[in-house]
Symmetry: D3
Subunit: 283 residues, 6 copies
Amino acid sequence: MPTEPDPDAAAAVQELLGGRFGEMSTLMNYTYQSFNFRGRNKVKPYYDLIANIAAEEFGHIELVAAVINGMLTGATDGDDIHQSPLKSYKGIGNPHHFINTGLGALAGNSLGQGWNGEYVFNSGDLVLDLLHNFFLENGARMAKIRVYEMTDHPIARQMLGYLFVRGGVHALAYAKALEELTGVDVKKMLPIPAVPDSAFKEAQPFTDQGLHGKLYRFSPEDFKDLGAIWHGEHPIDGTPLEVEDGPPEGGQQWDPPEEKAVSSPGLNPEELQEMAQRLLRNV
Amino acid sequence: MPTEPDPDAAAAVQELLGGRFGEMSTLMNYTYQSFNFRGRNKVKPYYDLIANIAAEEFGHIELVAAVINGMLTGATDGDDIHQSPLKSYKGIGNPHHFINTGLGALAGNSLGQGWNGEYVFNSGDLVLDLLHNFFLENGARMAKIRVYEMTDHPIARQMLGYLFVRGGVHALAYAKALEELTGVDVKKMLPIPAVPDSAFKEAQPFTDQGLHGKLYRFSPEDFKDLGAIWHGEHPIDGTPLEVEDGPPEGGQQWDPPEEKAVSSPGLNPEELQEMAQRLLRNV
Amino acid sequence: MPTEPDPDAAAAVQELLGGRFGEMSTLMNYTYQSFNFRGRNKVKPYYDLIANIAAEEFGHIELVAAVINGMLTGATDGDDIHQSPLKSYKGIGNPHHFINTGLGALAGNSLGQGWNGEYVFNSGDLVLDLLHNFFLENGARMAKIRVYEMTDHPIARQMLGYLFVRGGVHALAYAKALEELTGVDVKKMLPIPAVPDSAFKEAQPFTDQGLHGKLYRFSPEDFKDLGAIWHGEHPIDGTPLEVEDGPPEGGQQWDPPEEKAVSSPGLNPEELQEMAQRLLRNV
Amino acid sequence: MPTEPDPDAAAAVQELLGGRFGEMSTLMNYTYQSFNFRGRNKVKPYYDLIANIAAEEFGHIELVAAVINGMLTGATDGDDIHQSPLKSYKGIGNPHHFINTGLGALAGNSLGQGWNGEYVFNSGDLVLDLLHNFFLENGARMAKIRVYEMTDHPIARQMLGYLFVRGGVHALAYAKALEELTGVDVKKMLPIPAVPDSAFKEAQPFTDQGLHGKLYRFSPEDFKDLGAIWHGEHPIDGTPLEVEDGPPEGGQQWDPPEEKAVSSPGLNPEELQEMAQRLLRNV
Amino acid sequence: MPTEPDPDAAAAVQELLGGRFGEMSTLMNYTYQSFNFRGRNKVKPYYDLIANIAAEEFGHIELVAAVINGMLTGATDGDDIHQSPLKSYKGIGNPHHFINTGLGALAGNSLGQGWNGEYVFNSGDLVLDLLHNFFLENGARMAKIRVYEMTDHPIARQMLGYLFVRGGVHALAYAKALEELTGVDVKKMLPIPAVPDSAFKEAQPFTDQGLHGKLYRFSPEDFKDLGAIWHGEHPIDGTPLEVEDGPPEGGQQWDPPEEKAVSSPGLNPEELQEMAQRLLRNV
Amino acid sequence: MPTEPDPDAAAAVQELLGGRFGEMSTLMNYTYQSFNFRGRNKVKPYYDLIANIAAEEFGHIELVAAVINGMLTGATDGDDIHQSPLKSYKGIGNPHHFINTGLGALAGNSLGQGWNGEYVFNSGDLVLDLLHNFFLENGARMAKIRVYEMTDHPIARQMLGYLFVRGGVHALAYAKALEELTGVDVKKMLPIPAVPDSAFKEAQPFTDQGLHGKLYRFSPEDFKDLGAIWHGEHPIDGTPLEVEDGPPEGGQQWDPPEEKAVSSPGLNPEELQEMAQRLLRNV
């Protein structure tokens, strides 16, 4: 994933991780809604839907965090502490990326404010909570578009292409759930704002693979009733809506490179590695 | 899980979910440390340890949230809105449990303040982060003891018994990791405070099952190197320290009962269920 | 408005003033959306609608604040400072009502946290902002219902009856605006939660007066185009939807009684009055 | 109002809107003080003064918000989303202006922190509250001077010229009220800091019109007793202090231009307009 | 200092420690104003005054913290952890006193919110900063009166008696400084609110000792010029205003008793003491 | 101390004053731990140690504040308000340095967030609190290293050299205290991160003076038992560990120069000085 560092863009991407409409918010809204879902057995498809999307969101915070790591990698001028290797980044981006992390992602937004548990909405009333989730997904889409307009950093753009498509699935899923409950054809409002995913060339590869029509079933044992809501055709291009067992195929795990200047993961990684090797004889 | 409602105790238990030393904090500290771990392949046992404990912590937020739901269940006087079914709970516990949730858990602490992403510590330096984690686990243990002293609600106590034991495993694991890296026998400090788990009768059943010696490997594919750190004997009773493949056996899933007074999950759950049944014909 | 003081209920009512779904939030969301409305002349009915509802919300913060004042009036034991006239209120309600105000309303929520400008949502995209407003009104309705269930204090209940009806008008207005823009019959979702206003006996007098069908035009000069959106019939009872020039007839201004114990408005109001009289000779 | 965009200056101007000493603070302090004013009929001139100034402050938040909109207008490079039209603004100004608004004003300060209800001071004691207000107006003046020194953007400067004069009226009014109550000639301290309004050339036009001597009576019915406090001569130039019925003559309403790049008010404003026209046939 | 525990009152007293108008605020306002005082040598008496009062305020946070410790001492039911020794305090006072401290003072207010550095006002302009300080002292006095009315706990009352007198000195000192700079006889406003210190019987002993006329010179070397401001007579009773070298005679140091239930300072203090004795052989 | 102004670096240095790991945090953690220390007479060396280090930390906040003042001095373009003397600093550093202070230090961090009382950890359990303090000192060291890497401003570097050494003393002192209590040789972990103080050339002069082996006894009367913990040899270079009576010799007091552009300390300092001279005739 090696690319040019861009701390200013990385600071902006934080909004998509720890902002009110970032992935921490979608993750935790759906997680707490599933934890607190009363009478879930009676309306199991709705429970399954929310709990299952929560599971996918965990992968999204991992993805955005990896991208931020990638955008910060290399944001030092050499490794010699005395040569002020962070000096040219003074006043650039989020100072906490440099001071409080080893060029890593923060659980906060583009202003550096921490993600807050008060961002979770969970009234207990299913219609209201679904309406919230539908709004949240659309608000999140807006934030992503704005960050898209702010940077063309290649790994940010690739991530955004993927998230436009997956976020679109979640918005549609909540719309269909609302429709089942209330009879209102909410999905007709989509996309909000009125620029289709197909307008983003980075979304194309994922649409080509049909990802906009798939809901992954993260726990095949538990979430059996997703298909009760997720079926029919995609309102834009008629792609059949299908539930696929198992999580999406993960990309290859990325190991963010060491950054000696900020002693991440420690000033003498060779020494650490030697220790690790010694340890591994115990396995 | 039906028990007497106790909103005051439920408000206190929130500290263990969304307080600075609650399970949201352990979960998110280890999660972000694993996301941002640079050079992880060189020191894989440490990465595996942190990422694997993060995985277990997710189960802990679920557990604490379920207990809070249980402690709030029934905290209404009938279902008739006009009869002010929440009136006797005015001034009791956390008002947001009643106003902002349908008697569910909040992502906040015992004062009602939201959990904050600034609680995450992740300097990038492995020794410093492990020292933090060791401190965090001990701070978390203190908070649990204080809440234990504040309530003898049976489901809170059962949860605490379990968490004392599992938290003890995590504290010991970080101590051993620190010891490998620095040569300092940190585990000799344990337990902090100096009251052993065995002093809590509710921890006994779990210790009897040997849970204090087991590290669960949540992803057998990924976290192969845990044994490099987690081996030897438990410093207190000599129980062999073992890695067990797979997550702990979950308890039976609990479906928190409906609460009509707060329209959770909706004022007419029968109607909702009918819809759900109709939906399920689609599966 | 003299009634029994009830500081615990007053603390709960604060949620409806300064909580995320309180009147400060509806006021400021619509206010900032109107301030920042770009291209307003091209889509004037929408601008008029948002700006006009903002104007009504100002009256709502005044109303809720008056009710809180009323619920706190008399919450002292005599006026003698040495006799600890607030002692029986220690641990009751929100301490800031006593310490930081003279038994008056705070710009904060039921936990005592200040209302925050971050509660304002204003993406600029009209569809998204209207969707937010529709959600906000419904979330606000939920909060009102929960507070209704928490207290039967007569002035709180009267206020709630009125706000159910007016909030219902706003929810419907945003639903109709959304419908015009997107073709989606959003109003079919109402009411959320699924308990109609008619279920609240305190709402009855206001429905009887037809207030659920009226949109007040606060600035007859400026907001001429409200009727483009607000017309037709009420979806529940068929009441014709009408725009009425001018604000609603205000209730009689209420002068909250002095509270000597908290020197509000000063320890010697007689002396103050004398000064005031002297001043008035200048008018 | 078309001018060069200057997002860095717009971010600074936010301090005057949502900072502790911004117009949201003056507005809400006086608003809550009037809402909570106990025994107001006995000391009506004071009540009238505070409530009346609150009314004027509403116009001030509108003004500052309009200026921020003006300073952000045009802060995009074209409208093509794929061309990253916000890229050159990455790291410039407040990212939330771009991500969370459609180039509009935020209810927050120059650091992006939301305005907070805890900024309201309202002890209930009239002397103390007036002393606070006197201090607040002077603190607000200092903030304005500092922002004046930070930007010579023409619309910011024009706004500042106006606000210096009107803020000066409010400071003087509170000084006179304090003097009536306590006999202390507080107005002798003015101006704070010791640079007169006349030093700001942008204030001159407004002083020339005598605005520094006028108190507008926003509600001629309600606030009849303003003259009991606001009379005599201006301490600096002897201008007679007069109450004028009615609000100040507003400037021409400004319609901030559309910004397609941020879909404000929507990606296809022409389409929106067509809808609006259709709607208007209903009026 | 052994007295009855009163956690509800202790929670209220926190406002005087960590609230916006608490001793942390007076301490830190004057401390930062002295740190940032530019050109201090030219106007040394003012610098001396602010820096010297800052020094006294440090003693005040110590005093309030000691009182809170005293009011919490004994707030447990025995020492046996299994007997839930904190159970009867569930829902009483501030839960963080029990969970996050060992029955000690928090750096926060009566709502449990942390003291915040944003409470510091320091414009740099001497007149404005002094005006702020004068206001702050009067706001602090109001908070103290309200807490006085809320509790008659003997150690709280004794503390309040002392702080009324010393706070009065500080308010007067800032008034005199303002008067010297501006010619305005600000001290004529005092006391605010208009109830004299002599009305509080607990203040009497300190007034009898003449403490209301004394300014302690905390650093006789540094703060030589205090007398330039602090001289003349007390406006209420004519007591001569005098600077006294050295800090006020401290009360006897109090050692808050151990609380085994919350392991403060540790579960086995005898063991700790043995260690301490062993250590002392090294001295 | 006149140097080139560098507001961007000054904003970063704020992290070391008001950040979670800044000097405000070390000061207030140890201060509150000493205030709340129960049973202190039984374990007096530990009490003495914590209280004594608290005293030294006060000097550190003064030092960091002075450095920030120095780095901001001169950050204006002339003194003429009309010439926008702050214009070239728009978008540079922390806007509150310019708007809310007269180029002075804030009680906040590098993001401009206020220091918060919730940063204080004080469980009451001595081992846990000491473990926290040991962690805190190492976290603080990491923050200092990162700021060191971010700026080579001469006064920042000099300050950092000094603070590395004194922070090292505190970390070692807490390590030794923990070792006495638990038998664990914690100091063997030091330094964290694994770059020794000797690697920082600016620390050299202070190490040469032996400051890394000295604990200053701030109150010779009170803190007699420090030697029980602080004795033996420095683990790195064998320097004898000694307690020295009295505080460190202070540097010469620095008077930060006036900044007319921001009216600090007032627009006409000559006039102020004249007043001051007049005042001094009273001394």
